[in-house]
């Protein structure tokens, strides 16, 4: 069976600048794919492309394609994309405040999704809204439905946004840093809710995060992006055990772990360059501790790893050991 979501050799440009360069990813039903990388690596841009929102920020697909359940998104046109987004593709945006209308009651904002996408009557939509709120363990759902966004805590607002994403009965949820602004105890609640939905209903989840801890605990597979390219795409266990790309290894080494000796926390020297200043060859080479001559001139192509992953590094075999 073909995957639910398949991103094939996708390049995305805004103005004359190519921001995503030859990205390939795929995601099955019942699976969680993590998308990680430092700020500016292209995570949100990938999310916007998959949800058909690219034109909104003046971007376009320069080459490649996105297949959702076999359909090329490019063939859909604006109306078709609108129907898909909020319907079979639910989107949880990075900032819950931008996703919620501050002057409309919470319940109405969720109702409208199932009215629009499932054609429910007002009454049926509200019943569905309250049911969803209950599933997301929102206490006193009926009262919360009458509230305005500013009356709710950050964690509660994020659950409302997830309820909105679920209201159209999606097959795929794209969640862009759904827990970044939240406290750890609330983050744990939200991640538990999202992973539960995948396990129980067979949803597919594209989970964007910059937190390798969230990836390790919640995801099945992970794609590490760097400067608009896929550096490594693997199942979570082998990636953490034997990262094959120096960037993936470095990202893992940035997080303090139980029993880590003092001074062993390693940062990554330098920072992600802006898209107009990507270096030739491997884009990571100026920050890479392993870089050799070929890295500075030749682009490393994505190659298969023995465990069915992908890695783009000239020295991958040596790095993974």
């Amino acid at each position: 069976m073909s995957p639910l979501l398949s991103i094939e050799r996708l390049s995305v440009a805004i103005g004359g600048v190519t921001l995503l360069d030859d990205i390939s990813l795929s995601l099955d039903r019942g699976q969680i794919l993590g998308l990680v990388g430092e700020s500016g690596s292209g995570k949100s841009l990938t999310a916007l492309t998959v949800t058909g929102l690219l034109p909104l920020i003046g971007g376009r697909i320069a080459s490649g394609r996105i297949l959702f359940d076999g359909t090329d998104l490019a063939s859909l046109g604006p109306a078709g994309l609108r129907k898909l987004r909020g319907g079979r593709i639910g989107f949880v945006m990075q900032n819950p405040m931008t996703a919620l209308d501050p002057v409309q009651r919470i319940g109405e904002q969720i109702d409208v999704v199932s009215r629009l996408h499932l054609g429910l009557s007002g009454e049926a939509a509200r019943a569905r809204t309250l049911d969803l709120m209950g599933q997301l363990r929102i206490p006193e759902a009926a009262a919360v439905a009458e509230a305005y966004p500013h009356q709710l805590s950050g964690g509660m607002k994020q659950r409302i946004v997830i309820a909105m994403a679920l209201a159209g009965e999606p097959d795929l949820i794209v969640a862009d840093e759904p827990t970044t602004a939240l406290d750890v105890t609330v983050q744990a609640q939200i991640i538990q809710i999202l992973t539960g939905l995948v396990r129980e209903r067979g949803l597919a989840l594209l989970l964007i995060t910059h937190d390798m801890g969230v990836v390790a605990q919640a995801c099945d597979r992970v794609a590490v992006l760097y400067a608009g390219r896929v550096a490594e795409e693997r199942a979570v266990d082998p990636l953490f055990e034997r990262p094959a790309h120096p960037y993936a290894a470095a990202l893992i080494g940035c997080i303090p772990r139980e029993g880590m000796a003092e001074g062993s926390l390693k940062g990554i020297a330098g920072s992600v360059p802006p898209a107009t200043q990507f270096p030739p060859g491997c884009r990571f080479h100026p920050r890479c501790p392993h870089a050799v001559d070929i890295c500075r001139t030749e682009r490393p192509l994505l190659r298969e790893t023995p465990d069915g992953g992908l890695v783009a590094c000239h020295l991958a075999e040596r790095i993974a050991g």
Binding site: S39, A188, A218, E258, E262
Partner: protein
């Protein structure tokens, strides 16, 4: 613990809010009877979730705001109750690094001007050489002096924030979530920089964070706060938590290790409103170990071998 540098006793801060035309002013206690000692050369961590009073505690200690009650002593000098002139002198001994490197630097000033500012405030001379030295200490090139904040990355700005804090060679530095807005890659750089500076300058840190994993990596002792009060003091990073809230914080942190994967068992319930705290232990409503006593009386912070916990039914 070494000789105490900072001693905080019974520190309390109440804020009055509201009181517009229709609303009655309400009072909330952001910091409640906090006792805290930081030894010279120590790194003490303060963890807790958003709104638990970490930044208020920091601002009280530096006397950027006035306490409602309580005493603060730095190196034997009582900071509470001293006059402005004397306070200004004492302030040179302490400094703060702020959470947001974007809003904490004035966009109109060059980096050199920003770094010269603490000297200017205290009427001290500053040379270009001194500025270069400060930049070097935080691993930035001397050429950074002529740049403006908007020309620098978040990590570089936070290095400037650190250089500025260290300008007058303080003994004691409060770090208020210095890496919260940065990528983990940059966070790791900043943490190692802070560790090196501590060695180099013999600094004492109060390190505020909501990241228990980070605090356990970086700090010698850890103070856990919940709704304005200290609920536990861990004597070292490896200590096993005894307060159910600390345990919950630990269970909610995701280890970057799939082998340590476990069922997520998140805390239930919401943090109660600080304006309307229930009687008894503030955590009782979310606590799986709550007993009868927890709902009527506040558990006192009791210490045993440097490990203090405020709980009627500790682990």
């Amino acid at each position: 613990m070494s000789e105490p540098l900072l001693v905080v006793k019974g520190l309390t801060k109440r804020f009055m809010t509201g009181g517009g035309w229709f609303a009655r002013p309400r009072s909330m206690t952001a910091v409640r009877s906090v006792n805290l000692t930081v030894g010279r050369g120590e790194v003490v961590g303060v963890v807790g979730e958003s709104g638990c009073g970490k930044s208020t505690l920091a601002r009280l200690i530096l006397r950027l705001i006035e306490p409602t009650e309580g005493d603060i002593t730095l190196g034997g000098t009582r900071l509470s109750g001293i006059g402005q002139a004397e306070l200004r002198r004492e302030r040179r001994r302490m400094a703060m690094v702020f959470q947001d490197p974007y809003s904490s630097l004035d966009p109109r000033y060059t980096i050199a001007e920003t770094l010269a500012e603490p000297f200017r405030v205290h009427g001290l001379p500053v040379t270009q050489q001194a500025i270069s030295g400060m930049l070097e200490a935080v691993s930035l090139p001397a050429s950074a002096a002529l740049r403006y904040p908007h020309q620098m990355s978040g990590g570089q700005r936070q290095r400037i924030g650190i250089a500025r804090a260290l300008a007058l060679r303080p003994e004691f530095v409060v770090l208020d979530e210095p890496t919260a807005s940065l990528d983990v890659s940059i966070q790791a750089q900043i943490i190692e920089l802070l560790a090196a500076l501590r060695e180099g300058f013999g600094l004492t840190y109060l390190f505020i964070s909501h990241d228990l994993g980070l605090v356990r990596y970086f700090c010698d002792r850890i103070v856990v706060m919940y709704l304005g009060a200290v609920v536990e003091v861990l004597p070292d990073a490896r200590a096993v938590p005894r307060h159910p809230y600390t345990r919950a914080l630990m269970d909610s942190s995701f280890a970057p290790d799939p082998k340590a994967r476990r069922e997520i068992a998140p805390l239930s319930g919401e943090i109660p409103s600080p304006f309307n705290l229930p009687p008894g232990c503030a955590f009782a409503g979310r606590c799986s170990r709550a007993v009868e006593a927890c709902r009527s009386a506040s558990p006192p912070l009791t210490e045993e071998g440097g490990h203090a916990v405020a709980c009627f039914n500790p682990l």
